[in-house]
């Protein structure tokens, strides 16, 4: 089993990623750039901190009246001629869409970037049902052609070189294309322009849904979000139910900080507010609008330990600063959502056991919490997940045994002292110039790549006697 295959354990996939020289370079450049853009953007924005506090409060307050807001949203959408569907599971959401496709004779659907549709693996289901899904976000289009999954929440093809993209396009589209982003972008523009005009259905996610007005909000840069919601005759939006926000006034708070957090832009190129199907008198626009409100594990967290993770705006800022993500990239995580928030979202969608390794894929440095626009305390929830894995005995018994021993030693100073003496003896054959360079067994995990200081000839406690008298 190759280290990078999806079935391999996380540690193996991580190792595989570390050995991928191009990935390492791409990740370094991309994440460093995003970090810089975000930082500059907020340095220039003194209201930023206060707005983040407000955004967080709006998210919490919304959860406290979630049912009311969802009802208002649904009533408004229906009043405007749209339809609302309620999907308890991802499977249901898929079925609703497949049924719509069948009933409406949909043969091709163009998609705007949507993590919610990735989460429910919609594309495979559509293809299986004979409906052709076409990703139109450039990054998503690239990985669709490559039969891969996105490796970053907002820059899905960050792991690909322009050479790889050129080869991919040449192979899949027929032709010979230069490894030049301008050229390749133009190729995609022409290819996809046709698809927009011919598609029967447009499928999007939703960054927000404004309850007070029945508006679904899409934040994009390319224009595909606008195409997909204006040209095909049916528009379907799939949205996690936690994305609802109360009012237009609230929306401005989020718009002020979302693009800055994701890419350092004040606003993305396009923010599109969609209220249902086209109105009478409009030249263009879908005849039908469907909003699918999805639970898929979210409701259970309203009173759960991962409640705060429901605030997530899917901006990707935490990925960019995470020392682990920056080294291994998105695919190694092995689930739809990577990075720090991805670990929590995976636990939310698939249960705590699904993250028994990932919960430890963090040094708990806290950089994620620092940059999160809604100040989600990711480290705290990672530790809570770890606790669940321990108390529910999902963590391996060997580990639990070791930590049990550690606790006993910490509770008994005599054992602690004895432990130091034993270590001093045991290390003797390995000490070189006061350091340990190669230790056997478990300790080899450290010394394979780093020196370890030797246990001191005299611990501080042992030296205290001579230090006592000043």
């Amino acid at each position: 089993m190759s280290e990078t295959s999806p079935g391999a354990p996380f540690a193996a996939r991580a190792r595989g990623a570390l050995k991928d020289a191009y990935l390492q370079e791409a990740l370094g450049i991309a994440t460093t750039k995003f970090i810089g853009l975000r930082r500059e953007s907020f340095e220039d924005f003194p209201q930023g901190d206060a707005l983040r506090d407000r955004a967080r409060a709006i998210k919490e307050a919304t959860l406290q009246q979630l049912d009311r807001h969802l009802e208002r949203l649904a009533d408004n959408i229906e009043r405007l001629g749209g339809r609302v569907h309620w999907a308890a599971t991802g499977e249901e959401a898929r079925d609703i869409i497949l049924r719509l496709c069948r009933d409406k004779g949909v043969r091709m659907a163009v998609k705007s970037k949507s993590m919610a549709t990735e989460e429910i693996e919609l594309n495979e289901a559509l293809e299986h049902a004979g409906v052709k899904p076409v990703e139109t976000d450039l990054g998503e289009y690239i990985i669709q052609l490559a039969h891969e999954k996105p490796s970053h929440i907002i820059a899905p093809a960050i792991h690909k070189t322009k050479g790889q993209v050129a080869d991919l396009f040449s192979q899949e589209l027929g032709g010979h294309f230069e490894a030049d982003p301008e050229v390749l972008t133009k190729v995609a523009r022409v290819e996809l322009r046709q698809k927009f005009l011919e598609a029967d259905m447009g499928i999007t996610g939703a960054n927000f849904a404004v309850a007070e007005t029945g508006t679904v909000v899409l934040v994009t840069n390319e224009g595909n979000g606008r195409m997909v919601t204006s040209l095909p005759r049916i528009h379907v939006a799939v949205m996690g139910m936690e994305k609802v926000i109360p009012s237009m006034t609230d929306l401005m708070v989020f718009l002020a900080i979302l693009a800055r957090s994701a890419t350092g832009q004040k606003l993305s190129s396009y923010t599109t507010l969609v209220r249902g199907p086209r109105q009478p008198g409009e030249m263009e626009g879908p005849e039908e609008f469907h909003l699918i409100l999805m639970d898929n594990g979210r409701t259970r967290q309203i009173a759960g330990t991962l409640r705060e993770a429901l605030y997530c705006l899917r901006c990707g800022a935490c990925l960019n600063v995470c020392p682990v993500y920056r080294q291994i990239g998105g695919h190694a995580y092995g689930h739809t959502y990577p990075g720090p928030i991805g670990i929590l979202l995976t636990a939310m969608l698939k249960g705590a056991p699904s993250v028994k390794e990932l919960a430890h894929a963090s040094s708990l440095c806290g950089a994620c919490k620092d940059v999160c626009p809604v100040r989600i305390d990711i480290p705290r929830m990672l530790v809570e997940l770890r606790e669940r894995l321990d108390t529910e005995k999902i963590a391996p018994w060997t580990e639990r045994l070791l930590f049990g021993m550690a606790r006993r030693i910490m509770m008994r100073p005599s054992w602690f002292r004895r432990g130091a003496s034993v270590a001093r003896l045991a290390q003797k054959p390995f000490v070189r110039h006061g350091r340990l360079r190669a230790l056997p067994l478990f300790f080899g995990k450290w010394t394979a790549t780093r020196d370890l200081p030797a246990v001191a000839e005299k611990t501080f406690s042992e030296r205290w006697r001579e230090l006592r008298r000043p």
Partner: protein
């Protein structure tokens, strides 16, 4: 509070700290029977175990006027986590909060309690400083160590690009995912060496173990030292 890593691996740091504090007129005591603050247990999710250790530690330091810790992560554990761990027992909770209020990481103690911005030490060479995650983000402290380092005669402080980026230690993380930990470390050390500094300074034993261990393995001429050793050079090995 000497900390487990300090006691076993870096006693010279503790010695330097004691000498430094005495030089500044502080009466230093060392409650015997110290082991560990329990952070490794807590970070891996063994909360019941961490709670037991927290209770023990709170009692151990009950009589201390101030508790000074040469490690940002351990100081953070006491200040930020102990009260929550002991929330189930009102009396212990109150004691934990009181202990939290009088516990300080070394540089914080020097600058905020003793109100010194320099200790009159000399150090030849350039230094660069790494912001440990718990000290920086947990305790909000990035100025005091720099204030003290800048006060050194003949020493020159050079900023480390990405000083706020994790060194990759993360406690058990360093051995659970050693290759990832090392990749993060290598990136850090490239930055460190690029500064041209003679000495890398940090205020956390874990970070120093990780970065020092990496520097030695690379055969680097850069020395990894604790702030206390730089401020009280007689503590240098």
């Amino acid at each position: 509070m000497i900390t487990c890593l300090g006691d076993m691996f870096f006693p010279e740091v503790g010695v330097a700290m004691v000498r430094l504090l005495r030089r500044l007129g502080v009466d230093v005591e060392f409650p015997p029977g110290q082991t560990c603050c329990g952070l490794p247990l807590s970070n891996s999710g063994y909360h019941a175990d961490a709670r037991a250790v927290a209770e023990r530690t709170v009692r151990l330091f009950a009589g201390a006027e101030h508790v000074v810790v040469p490690s940002g992560s351990c100081a953070w554990m006491v200040k930020a986590e102990y009260p929550g761990l002991l929330a189930d027992d009102p009396a212990l909770h109150a004691e934990a909060r009181a202990l939290a209020a009088r516990t300080y990481e070394l540089s914080q103690f020097l600058v905020e309690v003793l109100k010194v911005s320099g200790v009159g030490s000399t150090f030849s060479g350039t230094l660069t400083y790494h912001d440990s995650c718990h000290l920086l983000r947990g305790l909000g402290e990035s100025r005091s160590p720099r204030t003290l380092l800048r006060s050194l005669e003949h020493g020159e402080l050079v900023e480390l690009p990405g000083s706020d980026e994790c060194c990759g230690f993360g406690g058990s993380f360093s051995v659970r995912l050693p290759e990832v930990s090392t990749a993060i470390l290598d990136k850090k050390l490239v930055s460190v060496e690029a500064t041209g500094a003679d000495c890398l300074v940090a205020c956390d034993a874990g970070c120093l173990m990780q970065m020092g261990g990496g520097l030695f393995r690379r055969g680097s001429r850069v020395r990894a030292l604790h702030l206390a050793q730089v401020l009280a050079p007689e503590g240098l090995p």
